[in-house]
């Protein structure tokens, strides 16, 4: 029999704030964290918009060389462990896997490394900077700092990385391989990603308007979202607060194009169907969909099609919103932050608004949550994440109930 997996800890660092309460307030009041980018020069780009994390919210006890990605991540991991009442004693360590998703790891260090290399400066520091830049550096670094001695695994599926890291941890706990796991995603703003997404003409200089007929692209952001997942009986024995339960997860690949999603949405709908089948529920039991909703033409019409294919006629009825107009697209953190937003939605009884939505699009016939956030009792939420390379993932989160115990 499969074990039940619950969420007992949350660490959240987004452009909306640090922790649950500031993010919940922003979701309730439709406050955006998008503004002019401060961390790099945007004068040569079409868009200067981004969603950055305020430096004041980040813990400060880092070595001088530490990359910003490590800082965002460690701050969130500490908050998550604290909220799960997990105090790891130095002499014991905690044998728990840490499974993280990221698209570019320490890319700010990567930029520094390559800049120094190309300009022929600071050669003596290059190896340290290179090490910090690698996507495989942060998870072991955090594991060492926090005395975690399980596997430190990094999963990369571009923008679906964070949700797939949670999915991987969920499956390990459900199969009994571990009792507790640290899982989530992170990414930072950088010239590298801004230039890349600009080159693909995916970034808007206007507002991010997912599912709107006049949508013109995404806005990038940064952040980290970390969950402590726990096998239910382990959590009950610890008498710890349970935020919600993960009941299903699905993943698939488009096998279509390196950046474009399959317009027929075969892969994305398959991931959603797999999550529903995994959870053993009916589509009608889903109370809200936190959409991937990037605000690009291709993603939003594809996601609409995927929801219609997977949920059948209920696809046009279920309330849907994207929270990216508030946070920006957090890349590797998007999936995990949006999974946490789904938990917040369940526990606070609000469906966040799909901000900046004004004109309906016949290609996106969905029940979009507009005007303001909705107060509503929610039991089950679906959260989608899709990434470059055609990676699709979906997760189902449910209000925790002790039924059947």
């Amino acid at each position: 029999m499969k074990k039940r997996v619950v969420i007992t800890g949350i660490g959240l660092l987004t452009p909306l704030g640090r922790g649950i309460s500031s993010n919940e307030e922003a979701l309730r009041n439709s406050r955006t964290g998008i503004s002019h980018i401060k961390s790099f020069n945007t004068s040569r780009y079409k868009s200067c918009l981004g969603a950055e994390v305020d430096n004041l919210w980040i813990d400060q006890d880092f070595p001088e060389y530490a990359d910003r990605a490590s800082k965002l991540l460690l701050t969130s991991c500490r908050d998550a462990l604290k909220s799960a009442a997990l105090l790891i004693r130095d002499e014991d360590g905690l044998e728990a896997p840490i499974i993280l998703g990221t698209t570019l790891g320490g890319m700010l260090s990567g930029q520094e490394y390559h800049r120094n290399l190309l300009l022929g400066i600071n050669s003596e520091k290059r190896s340290a900077v290179l090490r910090d830049s690698l996507a495989c550096h942060q998870a072991p670094y955090i594991a060492n700092r926090l005395n975690l001695i399980g596997e430190a695994l990094v999963i990369n599926n571009a923008c679906a990385s964070g949700l797939n890291a949670i999915g991987c941890a969920f499956k390990r706990l459900r199969s009994g391989e571990a009792e507790i796991a640290v899982a989530g995603g992170y990414d930072t703003m950088s010239d590298f990603t801004h230039a890349g997404f600009s080159s693909l003409e995916l970034i808007t200089a206007d507002k991010c308007r997912p599912f709107d007929k006049n949508r013109s692209g995404l806005v990038l952001g940064e952040g980290a979202g970390i969950l402590i997942l726990e096998e239910m009986s382990h959590a009950l024995r610890r008498k710890v607060n349970i935020f919600a339960e993960i009941i299903g997860y699905g993943q698939s690949a488009d096998a279509y194009h390196i950046t474009k999603p399959d317009p027929e949405a075969q892969g994305a709908s398959r991931a959603i169907e797999k999550a529903i089948n995994d959870a053993g529920i009916l589509p009608e039991e889903i109370d809200y969909v936190n959409a991937h909703g990037t605000g690009t033409m291709t993603n939003d019409s594809m996601e609409t099609k995927a929801l219609h294919l997977a949920l059948k006629e209920y696809g046009a009825k279920v309330p849907v919103s994207s929270t990216k107009p508030m946070t920006g697209h957090l890349l590797g953190a998007a999936g995990s932050v949006e999974a946490i937003f789904s938990v917040i939605a369940i526990n606070s009884g609000i469906i966040p608004e799909n901000l900046n939505y004004g004109t309906s699009d016949p290609e996106c016939k969905l029940n979009i949550v507009t005007g303001r956030s909705r107060n509503c009792e929610l039991k089950t939420v679906l959260s989608n994440s899709f990434g470059f390379g055609g990676s699709n993932s979906a997760i189902l989160i449910r209000k925790f109930e002790k039924k059947g115990l």
Partner: protein
């Protein structure tokens, strides 16, 4: 492990050449090392499928194709949604990344090429494999020293749980002069990084049920895999050591990684104290410091050695970041 999992395909390209014969000749000392410029990629794969791709995507796709052919799955995948692909890499698409940064640093960042960006992301190689071979199941890139062993573990979990039946698993990394310079200050043997260019190795992992149904030739069975996170100090402090689960597994040979740095060598020694140094086959000299490429070649060599007198072998990897992996493989026995 819920299901028995077997290895039914092997494919590789690297310093030794391309394919199993070249690999075995190289191990036996019958073949000289090749350089990266010796390869005519068109002779291995339709490169029109890989236009604008970085060299790691090309190498990974070729190794994956060899593995699929070996498993009799090339153009012969029945249920693409039950087929996955997981690719490990440490440095990813280095060639494209450097070109991309040149544009960022030396030119106008607003004029970088879109294909350069999309082909330099870490999951570019696995996306190419998924697109070329029409793989619709689980796909992921695993960035990491020890990433190939981690990829194997993930594939074993996914097949064991029934999410997928078959999975292409491998590693790809290609060295260049910049990496040689960067790593020369932190590894013990500076020559290890400079003497190999890397390449890619892939395996086909499959549930026994699926392999039997296809009447596939089975090279080996995956008997177990353990991964822990601890540097030497922590390994001592918490009284854990890499490979602890397999000390009593009666292995005939242990294939070990290149000794990257002092810490990983000391961790490897902790394990060797328990298993005996006479069983060790160090792979460092053969494959050099080529990250997940060397790691994949090490696992493939472990599988191939089962054809000799060995019944059970262990592939051990102690990495620079403290990831310690042990993969136990045995001869397939009905």
């Amino acid at each position: 492990m819920k299901k028995r999992i077997v290895i039914t395909g092997l494919g590789m390209i690297g310093d030794f050449g391309a394919g199993k014969e070249d690999f075995l000749d190289f191990i036996a000392g019958r073949k000289q090392k090749q350089t990266i410029s010796d390869f005519d990629l068109d002779s291995y794969i339709d490169t029109s499928l890989l236009r604008r791709a970085d060299q790691i995507s090309c190498f990974a796709s070729i190794a994956a194709k060899f593995a699929l052919e070996d498993a009799n799955l090339f153009n012969n995948i029945k249920n693409t949604y039950k087929f996955g692909a997981i690719t490990a890499t440490v440095h990813g698409a280095l060639q494209h990344t450097i070109e991309y940064h040149k544009a960022l640093v030396l030119d106008n960042p607003a004029t970088v090429s879109p294909s350069l960006f999309s082909n330099s992301v870490l999951n570019a190689a696995v996306s190419c494999i998924s697109n070329i071979f029409k793989i619709h199941g689980y796909t992921a890139a695993i960035p990491g020293y020890g990433g190939t062993h981690q990829a194997v573990k993930l594939a074993v979990e996914l097949i064991g749980e029934g999410d997928i039946d078959i999975c292409l698993v491998g590693g790809v990394d290609v060295n260049n002069e910049f990496l040689v310079e960067a790593y020369s200050s932190c590894i013990e043997d500076n020559t290890a990084i400079s003497k190999n260019f890397g390449g890619s190795g892939f395996m086909v992992l499959e549930s026994l049920e699926s392999a039997s149904k296809r009447e596939a030739e089975i090279h080996a069975e995956v008997l177990g895999i353990e991964i822990i996170m601890a540097d030497y100090k922590k390994a001592l402090k918490y009284k854990i050591f890499p490979g602890r689960d397999f000390v009593k597994a009666s292995v005939d040979c242990v294939f070990t990684s290149v000794f990257f740095d002092k810490d990983s060598r000391m961790r490897e020694d902790l394990f060797l104290e328990h298993i005996g140094k006479d069983k060790i086959f160090p792979c460092g000299d053969l494959f050099g410091c080529t990250f997940t490429a060397a790691e994949s070649f090490q696992i493939i060599l472990s599988v191939m050695r089962l054809r000799d007198s060995h019944n059970r072998v262990l592939s051990n990897y102690a990495s620079l970041t403290g990831v310690n992996a042990s993969l136990l493989i045995g001869k397939y026995n009905k």
